[in-house]
C-alpha cells in the first residue's frame, strides 16, 4: 500500500517550540497572585501520627496556609477504582505514615524559601512502629502489618495458567530452576513532579500539571476533592517525561489543589530532585523463581514462575505490573503449559509502580538468561531454540490472546545474520541476544471509565485547515505528530494543514492517556475514524458536484479530491471545503471517532515483536562493562514515523541498559541512599553504544494503517541482552540486577572456584 504520509521521515510538530525555549511546561507556569507550596515529609518508615501542630509555621511572615490530612476528605484513592480494597492511599494520611518521604502536611507561602522555612516549624508527634522493608520478610507471619487487616502483607495476587503443567514437566527431558532478583529503578523524568492549582470562587479548579493522563488526573482529583469531574480542568501542554511514573495522583497535584481550595489563590508545587527520588514511586522490584522444562530437541514444554514483588506502601499501578510481568514472562514463546503465581507485597518503602515496559523487562531478564543456559547445556544453537519456540502469526496464547501479526522469525533471522557478520570476537567480548514482545495498549478497565478508551474530533474550517482534538497525551514520545500524520493520511491533506489540540480536559475528549504503549493503536484508530467521518461528509458534496457514475469511487490525496480510477479528474480540496460549508448552512465539517477494544482477548488488541543484540566488552580485572553496539530488529507493524520509532528505540536502550548495569535504588531501613543525580548513575552520552534498527514490516489488522506499538516494548530486551552478552563473553551469569562490577567479579570468583 502506497501512503503519502505514513512511513515518511516527519519532524515532530512541536519541534520549533522545543528548540527555541517557547514550550511552556508546568514548572514555567506563573499566575497572578500565585503562592508557592512545599510538602513536609515523614522521616519514619512506619509511624502513627499523634499530633500535628502548625501554629509556629502559620505565624511566620509570608506563610498563607498549612494543610494536613484533617483538611481533606480523607478519601483513600487509587487508580484501580473498581476495587475499593486497592484504593489504599490518602496522599495526606490521617492516621499513619508508611514510608520515608510520605507527605504529612503542606505549606503555601509567598515564596518557595519561606515555604521551605515554614516546614521546619511544623511540629509532628509520631509514635514510631516496627517496619518491614523486604517482600520476603513481609510475608512472614510475625512481620509488622503495613495495612491493617491485610494478611501477611499480601496486597494483590495474580494467577495465569494454561495447559497441564505436571504432565508437561513429566514429558520434559531437561528441567532447570533459578531464582532471580530484579531491582527497582527511578523514572527520573527530567521535569520533576509539579503542579499549579487554581481554585476560584465559582467553585472550579484548574490544575496545570506534568502528567501522562489529564483525564485520569481530572477524575482522580474530582474523587478526592468531592467535585464533579467537569468542574476540574487539567492542563498539560508540555510534559518533561513520564515513563510510567506520571499517571497516578501525586503529592504535588493533590497538595496544591487542597491548598488552593483553602486559600482561593493559585498554588505551585515543584518537587526537588530529591523529593522526586524519595516520593514519586519507582519500577517494581521482583523476586523471580523460574522452573522450566524442555525436550532434548529444545521444544519448550513447561514453565512455572512464582514472583514476589516489593510493593512498597501502596497499591498504585503495581497491581497491573504484577499481572503483566506474569503474562510477558511467557513471551514471545509457545509453552505447552504455563503457570504464573504473582504476589504483590506491602512493605514500608517507597511504593513501586509501572515503569516503561511495565514488568516485562524484569520478566525478560529472567526468562532470556535462563533460556541461554538451557540452550548451552543441551548443545542447541541459541537462535534455533528461539526460532523453534517463538510466536507466529495466528498463534493463540491459550485463553489469553490471539496473535494477528508477528514478525518474530524474520527478526531472529536478521539478528542472527548480524551476529554472524561480526565474526570471531576478541577476548572478553560477547554479543547477547534477547527476544521480546509487548502489548499495544491494555484491555483493562480497572479505572472503571464509562468513556471510550480513546476519542478524537476532526474539524475542518472554511479555509480547509483542520483542528484535531485528541485526549491522548504528548509526553515527548511524539503522539501529537503521530496523530497529525494519521489524520492527514486519512483525510488526504498535509501534516502542516493540521493543528493538534491535546493536554487539556476542558477542550479535548477523554482518553486514558499515555501508558501501556496504547496511543498509536487506540488513539490512532479514533483519529483515523474521525478523519474518515469528516472525509465522508466532504465526499458527499464532491460526489454531488462531480456527479460521477455511481460505480466510481472518490478519494482525497494530497489536497486533491478525485476519481480513484481517473486521478487526474478532480477538484482542489480547499475550493470544495468552501463550497461544502455553505451547503451545510455555514457549519464547520466535524468528524468524530472513538475506540475501545472488543473481543481481543484478555490483554491487548495487538502485540509488537523484536530481537535485540547487544555487544559488550567486559574488563575481567575490574568487572566493568562497556556497551559497544546494539542492533534491534523490530516489528511494530506498519511504522508511522520512522524518525519517531528510531528515537523511541535509542531512548529505550539508554534507559533499559541503565537498568541492566547502572541504575539502582539501594535502601537502608527504608531510606533511599542515593536520592540525587550524583549518586544515582545513568547512562550519559559517552557510554551510549552505537545503535541500529532493522524494521520488519508486518500488517496489524487491528491497528491504524497496520501500526502497532513502538514505545515501551523496546525497553524489554536490553537488560536481558546484557545478561546473555556477559554469558557469551565470560561464561558467567549474574542473577541479580543491576549487573554491577562487584557482581561480575563475584561471579568470576565463583566460576574459578568451580573450576
Amino acid at each position: 500500500m502506497k501512503y503519502n504520509i505514513i512511513n515518511t521521515h516527519t519532524h515532530n510538530i512541536d519541534g520549533v517550540a522545543k528548540v527555541t525555549g517557547r514550550a511552556t511546561y508546568t514548572v514555567d507556569v506563573t499566575l497572578p497572585g500565585m503562592l508557592y507550596g512545599k510538602i513536609l515529609r515523614s522521616p519514619h518508615p512506619h509511624a502513627k501520627i499523634i499530633n500535628i501542630d502548625a501554629s509556629k509555621a502559620l505565624a511566620l511572615s509570608g506563610v498563607k496556609g498549612v494543610v494536613t490530612g484533617k483538611d481533606t476528605l480523607g478519601v483513600k484513592q487509587g487508580i484501580w477504582r473498581r476495587y475499593s480494597e486497592l484504593c489504599d492511599e490518602q496522599i495526606l494520611p490521617l492516621e499513619k505514615v508508611r514510608y520515608i518521604g510520605e507527605p504529612v502536611a503542606a505549606v503555601a507561602a509567598i515564596s518557595e524559601e519561606i515555604a521551605e522555612a515554614a516546614l521546619d516549624l511544623i511540629e509532628v508527634e509520631y509514635e514510631v512502629l516496627p517496619a518491614v522493608y523486604d517482600a520476603m520478610e513481609a510475608i512472614k507471619k510475625e512481620a509488622p502489618v503495613v495495612h491493617e487487616g491485610v494478611e501477611r502483607n499480601i496486597n494483590v495476587t495474580r494467577h495465569i495458567e494454561w495447559g497441564d503443567l505436571e504432565e508437561a514437566f513429566e514429558q520434559s527431558d531437561y528441567i532447570r530452576e533459578d531464582w532471580f532478583k530484579c531491582s527497582g529503578q527511578a523514572h527520573m523524568c527530567m521535569e520533576t513532579r509539579s503542579a499549579v492549582a487554581s481554585y476560584t470562587p465559582e467553585k472550579k479548579l484548574t490544575v496545570w500539571t506534568s502528567t501522562q493522563s489529564p483525564y485520569y488526573m481530572q477524575a482522580l482529583l474530582a474523587g478526592v476533592l468531592g467535585m464533579k469531574e467537569s468542574d476540574v480542568r487539567v492542563i498539560a501542554h508540555y510534559v518533561g517525561g513520564g515513563f510510567g511514573g506520571k499517571f497516578e495522583l501525586d503529592g504535588a497535584q493533590f497538595c496544591a489543589s487542597v491548598l488552593s481550595m483553602k486559600l482561593f489563590r493559585p498554588v505551585k508545587i515543584v518537587f526537588t530532585r530529591e523529593e522526586d527520588f524519595i516520593a514519586s514511586k519507582r519500577r517494581t522490584p521482583m523476586y523471580y523463581y523460574v522452573r522450566t522444562g524442555v525436550k532434548k530437541d529444545g521444544t519448550f514444554m513447561a514453565r512455572e514462575a512464582r514472583v514476589f514483588t516489593e510493593g512498597g506502601a501502596y497499591t498504585s499501578m503495581g497491581a497491573t505490573a504484577l499481572y503483566l510481568t506474569g503474562f510477558f514472562h511467557s513471551f514471545p514463546y509457545k509453552w505447552q503449559a504455563y503457570r504464573y503465581d504473582g504476589y504483590r507485597v506491602y512493605t514500608n518503602t517507597l511504593p513501586s509502580t509501572s515503569m516503561r515496559g511495565f514488568g516485562a523487562p524484569q520478566a525478560q531478564f529472567c526468562s532470556e538468561t535462563q533460556i541461554d543456559i538451557i540452550a548451552k547445556e543441551l548443545g542447541i544453537d541459541r537462535f534455533e531454540i528461539r526460532r523453534m519456540n517463538g510466536h507466529t502469526t495466528n498463534y493463540e496464547v491459550p485463553g489469553q490472546a490471539t496473535i494477528a501479526s508477528c514478525g518474530l522469525e524474520q527478526c531472529i533471522n536478521k539478528i542472527e545474520d548480524w551476529v554472524k557478520s561480526r565474526g570471531k570476537l576478541p577476548a572478553n567480548r560477547g554479543i547477547g541476544i534477547s527476544c521480546y514482545g509487548f502489548m499495544s495498549g491494555g484491555i483493562f478497565n480497572w479505572f472503571d471509565t464509562p468513556y471510550s478508551f480513546s476519542s478524537a474530533v476532526v474539524t475542518i474550517n472554511c479555509d480547509g485547515k483542520v483542528d484535531l482534538h485528541v485526549g491522548c497525551q504528548e509526553i515527548g514520545q511524539g503522539s501529537n505528530t503521530t496523530m497529525a500524520m494519521i489524520c492527514a493520511e486519512e483525510l488526504g491533506v498535509r501534516v502542516e494543514d493540521i493543528r493538534v489540540h491535546s493536554g487539556d480536559t476542558a477542550e479535548c475528549p477523554p482518553d486514558l492517556g499515555a501508558w501501556g504503549s496504547r496511543q498509536t493503536l487506540m488513539a490512532g484508530n479514533a483519529t483515523k475514524m474521525a478523519a474518515a467521518d469528516a472525509k465522508r461528509q466532504l465526499l458527499e458534496f464532491a460526489t454531488a458536484k462531480m456527479s460521477p457514475n455511481i460505480v466510481y469511487d472518490l478519494d482525497i490525496k494530497d489536497r486533491w479530491i478525485h476519481l480513484v480510477a481517473r486521478p487526474e479528474r478532480g477538484i482542489d480540496y480547499f475550493e470544495l471545503v468552501k463550497e461544502a460549508l455553505r451547503g451545510k448552512e455555514g457549519q464547520r465539517i466535524m468528524g468524530r471517532g472513538y475506540y475501545t477494544p472488543h473481543r481481543k482477548g484478555m490483554i491487548s488488541p495487538a502485540y509488537s515483536y523484536g530481537v535485540q543484540a547487544l555487544e559488550i566488552d567486559v574488563d575481567p580485572e575490574t568487572g566493568k562493562i562497556s556497551l559497544l553496539n546494539c542492533v534491534t530488529a523490530h516489528d511494530c507493524g506498519q511504522p508511522v514515523n520512522p524518525l519517531g520509532v528510531h528515537g523511541q528505540l535509542e531512548g529505550a536502550i539508554s534507559m533499559a541498559a541503565g537498568y541492566g548495569f547502572l541504575e539502582d535504588l539501594p535502601m537502608e531501613d527504608g531510606k533511599i541512599l542515593n536520592p540525587n543525580l550524583v549518586d544515582y548513575k545513568l547512562i550519559r552520552a559517552p557510554e551510549m553504544p552505537e545503535t541500529e534498527v532493522i524494521e520488519i514490516e508486518t500488517y496489524e489488522p487491528e491497528g491504524p494503517f497496520g501500526a502497532k506499538e513502538a514505545g515501551e516494548g523496546l525497553t524489554n530486551p536490553t537488560a536481558a541482552a546484557l545478561s546473555t552478552a556477559l554469558y557469551e563473553a565470560l561464561g558467567i551469569t549474574v542473577k541479580q540486577l543491576p549487573i554491577t562490577p562487584e557482581k561480575v567479579l563475584g561471579a568470576l570468583r565463583e566460576k574459578a572456584k568451580e573450576a
Binding site: 527555541t20 525555549g21 527530567m190 520533576t192 513520564g242 515527548g476 539508554s654 534507559m655
Partner: protein, 161 residues
C-alpha cells in the same frame, strides 16, 4: 535584606537589577527575567538542563551565583534564534529528532553550541565527551550526537548567519 546591583547582558539586552547576592544565575534568568526556556532538573549541578553560555563558555546556571557574572554577556536558548531564523544547531536538532520531551533540550543546545564554537570540527568521540554534563532521559543521546556531527560536517552551512 541585603541587595546587590547586578548588571548583566542577556541575549544582547542589558539589564540592571537588585538581587539577593545568594541568587543563582539560573534563578535570575528564569525567575527575575522570565526567560523560562532554560530549565532546572536537579540541585547538584548534575543534569545540565540549565546550561547557558557566558562569554563563550558553557556554564551550568545553577553552579554560579548571578553576581559572579556581573558585567558579563550571557546567551540562553532564547538567544540562538535571530528574528525567526533558527540557528543551524536548532535546525539540526529538528531534522535529527534530537529531542523528545524537550526538557533537556535547551541545555543540550547550549552545550552543543559551546562545543561547536570551540571545536567546529569535533569528532564523534569529542562530541560525546562534550555532552557528558547533560542528561537526557528520552533520546539515548545518539540523535543529538548525529545533529552536532551534521553541523560539524558543514551540512548546515547555508543556515549560518
Amino acid at each position: 535584606m541585603e541587595r546587590h546591583l547586578l548588571r548583566i547582558t542577556v541575549n544582547g539586552q542589558e539589564h540592571e537589577l537588585y538581587i539577593n547576592p545568594k541568587t543563582l544565575l539560573v534563578e535570575v534568568i528564569r525567575d527575575h527575567l522570565g526567560l523560562t526556556g532554560t530549565k532546572r532538573g536537579c540541585e547538584t549541578v548534575s543534569c545540565g538542563a540549565c546550561t547557558m553560555i557566558v562569554e563563550g563558555m558553557s556554564v551550568k546556571g545553577c553552579s554560579v551565583l548571578a553576581m559572579q557574572v556581573d558585567g558579563l554577556k550571557v546567551t540562553t536558548v532564547e538567544g540562538l534564534e535571530d528574528h525567526g531564523k533558527l540557528h543551524p544547531i536548532q535546525k539540526a536538532f529538528i531534522d535529527h529528532g534530537s529531542y523528545q520531551c524537550g526538557f533537556c533540550t535547551s541545555g543540550m543546545l547550549m552545550s552543543s553550541k559551546a562545543l561547536l564554537d570551540e571545536n567546529p570540527k569535533a569528532t564523534i568521540k569529542e562530541i560525546r565527551e562534550g555532552l557528558d554534563g547533560n542528561l537526557c532521559r528520552c533520546t539515548g543521546y545518539n540523535s543529538i550526537v548525529r545533529a552536532v556531527d551534521a553541523v560539524c560536517k558543514g551540512q548546515y552551512r547555508e543556515d549560518e548567519a
